[in-house]
């Protein structure tokens, strides 16, 4: 059995959706997360069993709103979407065929559906006629640390002539040409995952991966209405970050090799799926892989409350965030920084400058407060 499978225990690896894959780039320096993700471990269940459930949830209103908007854009064979594409690409697309790749009949496995997508994309890549074709719900795949992850197919691929584009439908509003920057950034990161997966697919099929454009089409509601509007978003930077992170994940092997051979994050679920692994044991196992906590984890990683608690117990300055840590010249613990500030600790080599600053800050603070 694969080492990563042993780490996970006898459950299937958790599929990564595009959101999860995009989030991999959020804290690239964290070994704990790299190992757990590479092994396809359910971090949410792990955090819950550890007594630190993740603070994430999505409101049913937001979900409904998303679905309503998406079906509006896709109504009557994506008529509305086609109109937007004509506008934004400035092309006279007379007509476009619509293919729903999700529609394979029955309840086929992801694997089957992916083969179906493959076949149709291959055919599409061969015929470069001028009529456009929309491929809804393409089931794409991305390899992460040796495991295939199928991506939730909530995008549309559009082919016109020899070029493919990813179309992403999001329900956050663009008001007077502006949207919330972090939402746009998150959408761009996710779209990059699909661009990469589609490029890989073309490459595997022997086509030029460069035929997938790095400009993705983002479709959002405009102003306060439900009327959609489209924007081109260049995701080259997101692609570069993603590739770097995926390359790191393939090197996760060396990280895993360094771990004790008996280490596992298996929750030992019983017949009803209830975890029976002793919590203390699981805690030790998780702590066995180094984390790099940062306050950003609070919005990106299921283990955030656990790791924050750990950082707090260790008195780590990471707890206070990057800005503080930078201002402290990278001094790792609160005790050390305070020791340098009150002079009870002699600075190590290389720490003289920050120690001088901290002592000065301490003196001035005492003088004026």
């Amino acid at each position: 059995m694969d080492r990563l499978d042993l780490l996970r225990g006898p459950v299937p690896p958790r599929p990564h959706d595009a959101r999860a894959i995009a989030a991999l780039a959020a804290n690239p320096g964290c070994a704990r997360r790299a190992v757990l993700d590479a092994a396809g471990i359910d971090k949410d269940a792990t955090a819950t069993h550890l007594g630190f459930p993740a603070p994430f949830g999505q409101s049913p209103f937001a979900i409904t709103r998303g679905n309503v908007f998406e079906s509006l854009v896709k109504e009557s064979g994506c008529a509305e979407l086609l109109r937007l594409l004509r506008d934004i690409l400035d092309l006279p697309i007379p007509l476009a065929a619509y293919n729903d790749l999700g529609d394979v009949g029955g309840n086929p496995s992801a694997h089957l559906r992916h083969s179906h997508t493959r076949k149709l994309i291959d055919r599409a890549a061969r015929d470069a006629d001028d009529a456009g074709t929309l491929y809804d719900h393409p089931l794409l795949r991305l390899d992460i640390a040796g495991h295939s992850s199928y991506l939730e197919p909530d995008v549309v691929a559009f082919r016109l002539g020899g070029l493919f584009r990813i179309v992403e439908i999001k329900s956050f509003a663009v008001v007077d040409g502006q949207a919330e920057p972090d939402k746009v950034a998150a959408a761009a990161r996710q779209a990059a995952v699909y661009v990469l997966a589609l490029r890989n697919l073309l490459r595997e099929l022997g086509h030029d991966p460069g035929r997938v454009s790095h400009d993705v089409v983002l479709v959002c509601p405009e102003n306060f209405a439900n009327r959609p509007t489209a924007t081109l978003v260049d995701v080259r930077r997101e692609l570069a970050v993603l590739k770097r992170q995926l390359a790191r994940m393939t090197r996760v092997g060396t990280m895993v090799d360094a771990l004790p051979p008996e280490l596992t994050f298996d929750l030992a679920r019983d017949a009803d799926g209830v975890p029976t692994r002793p919590v203390a044991e699981l805690r030790e196992a998780v702590r066995g892989v180094d984390a790099r906590y940062a306050p950003d984890c609070l919005s990106t990683c299921d283990l955030c409350f656990f790791c924050r608690d750990e950082a707090s117990a260790e008195g780590s300055t990471d707890l206070l965030g990057r800005q503080v840590r930078d201002a402290l010249g990278g001094v790792a613990t609160v005790a050390e920084a305070l020791g340098l500030a009150d002079g009870s600790l002699t600075p190590d080599e290389g720490q003289e400058e920050i120690a001088r600053l901290l002592r000065l800050a301490d003196r001035i603070y005492a003088e004026v407060s």
Binding site: S59, A225, L320, D326, A337, A361, I364, V368
Partner: protein, 489 residues
């Protein structure tokens, strides 16, 4: 972040309670602020779900949209909000003072201005959005709304735009106002949670700040301060309540939604007034009055614009508007930073650490020192200060001093912990310096290379001369006919 602020956070973490970052209050606090806590329906840009508003801590007004997707109910909400906000704003327009100006007509300025206090940055953004979604509405024609709605929209827009001006206090986010004065033992990201921030600053008896802050993260104990609601609350409470209203839109069903959102708003209402009390407990910094005066002038101007029947604020700034605003903002920010430093030794401490300012003891003076000959002879008193601060100032640098505002000095020489300065402005016009203008030997003094004087406005082309590279002249806003009909679904 300055080393000083970082150290304050470390001390907060070590002791379990927040540490002061300021000795005085740097934002004006109105005698009658209006607290406004908006909630938005998840997934929507500006669909109000509910709000709590009012000027009396004992009498919050609850506003509810029992079905937030219903356009008429939403405009009923904004009309109700207008009923609360407009009388508040209009009441402040009545009392004015006459301001005399050299070389210009005297003008009338309101003695006070509105101050809206909201929980956090998200709420400030929501005020902006709500203003945008209401100011173009019309009282007649298709989709007519109550006449107060577009007026409300223009006031909300005024407040949100003015709030971007550094040092303005017409629209304050409680988390930001508190963070300006206290350092907690958590990250800035976590400080955006009002309950947790207040936990550090003012923990309940028997609790450390750290544990109060942790407890504050539980949405069941402390519901989020908005505008987003807790997804768990949405799923378990709000969805069924709204569905019941949809099926039978009775008063009882509406009241059920109202009671549901009240549980989410009431805890924050209490927190908001605690935040105001805490800020009010600090003595006002001397500069707050002048900055509030600028807010009052801005309020007076906008009142006049509205009275003259000007059009609603445009959807976008033209390029020149944007550039001149940016330049003005930068100057205002520099001046605001300087004012706070001169008002507050704790803020000045941060500048002393970076070497832009220093404190020391006067060891020698030459109050009658002059420069130049004959008619060009000028009084330039000299003084030498001993300091242990790491002053990093070049000869010729212009300095100000909190002890003698309006005075200016220039660095002559810095060597071995001794700084020699000459006073170049603010020592009187006579042959000898005005008594008290030159510090005595032995006096503790502070000097800083911070200027709170406004530079002359950057010369920018008038809006109609915008170069084509910047999009050409901005189109004058002609209220388009579709504006009031813009969908809001």
């Amino acid at each position: 972040m300055s080393t000083l602020a970082a150290l304050a956070r470390l001390r907060a973490l070590q002791t379990g309670t927040a540490k002061r970052l300021a000795t005085v209050r740097h934002c004006h606090l109105s005698e009658r602020p209006m607290v406004f806590i908006p909630l938005r329906l998840a997934g929507e840009a500006a669909a109000p779900l509910a709000a709590m508003a009012g000027t009396d801590p004992a009498r919050p007004r609850l506003l509810v949209v029992p079905q937030p997707r219903d356009r008429d109910l939403r405009f009923a909400f904004t009309a109700e909000l207008a009923e609360i906000l407009l009388p508040y704003v209009e009441g402040l327009q009545k009392a004015t003072e006459t301001v005399e100006r050299r070389g210009a007509e005297p003008y009338e300025r309101c003695l006070d201005a509105p101050q809206l206090i909201v929980p956090n940055r998200g709420a400030v953004a929501f005020v902006h959005m709500l203003g945008r979604s209401t100011r173009f509405r019309r009282a007649e024609g298709p989709y007519a709304v109550h006449p107060s709605v577009p007026v409300l929209g223009r006031w909300l827009t005024f407040l949100a735009q003015r709030a971007q001006y550094p040092g303005s206090a017409v629209l304050l986010a409680a988390t930001e106002a508190l963070s300006l004065h206290w350092a907690t033992g958590q990250s800035m990201l976590e400080d955006a949670n009002l309950a947790s921030l207040l936990g550090w600053i003012d923990p309940p008896a028997g609790m450390t700040g750290a544990s109060a802050a942790r407890e504050a993260e539980d949405p069941l104990v402390w519901p989020p301060a908005g505008p987003a609601t807790d997804p768990g609350f949405d799923t378990e409470v709000l969805v069924p309540a709204i569905r019941a209203y949809e099926q039978r839109p009775t008063e009882r069903a509406a009241a059920r939604v109202g009671e549901a959102v009240r549980t989410q708003l009431e805890p924050t209402w209490g927190l908001m007034w605690r935040a105001i009390d805490l800020l009010g407990g600090l003595p006002a910094g001397p500069g707050t009055a002048a900055r509030w005066e600028a807010d009052r002038a801005s309020f007076t101007n906008f009142t006049a614009q509205l009275a003259e029947g000007g059009p609603p604020q445009p959807k976008r700034d033209g390029a020149v508007g944007a550039a001149s605003r940016l330049a003005r903002m930068e100057r205002a920010q520099a001046s605001y930073d300087a004012q706070r430093a001169y008002d507050d030794p704790l803020v000045m401490a941060g500048h002393r650490l970076t070497g832009e300012a220093f404190t020391g003891t006067v060891v020698a003076t030459d109050p009658d020192h002059t420069e130049g000959e004959g008619r060009g002879r000028k009084l330039r008193p000299l003084l030498t200060i001993r300091t242990t601060d790491p002053a990093r100032l070049a000869p010729g640098a212009r300095l100000g001093t909190p002890e003698r505002r309006g005075q200016q000095a220039e660095v002559v020489e810095i060597a071995g912990g001794l700084v020699t300065l000459k006073i170049i402005k603010g020592m009187g016009r006579g042959k000898a310096a005005t008594p008290g203008a030159v510090p005595e030997v032995g006096e503790r003094v502070c000097y800083a290379a911070l200027s709170d004087e406004f530079q002359p406005p950057a010369s920018l082309p008038a809006p109609e001369d915008t170069p084509w590279t910047h999009g050409g002249p901005p189109p004058e806003h002609v209220p388009a006919d579709e504006d009031p009909e813009e969908e809001w679904s």
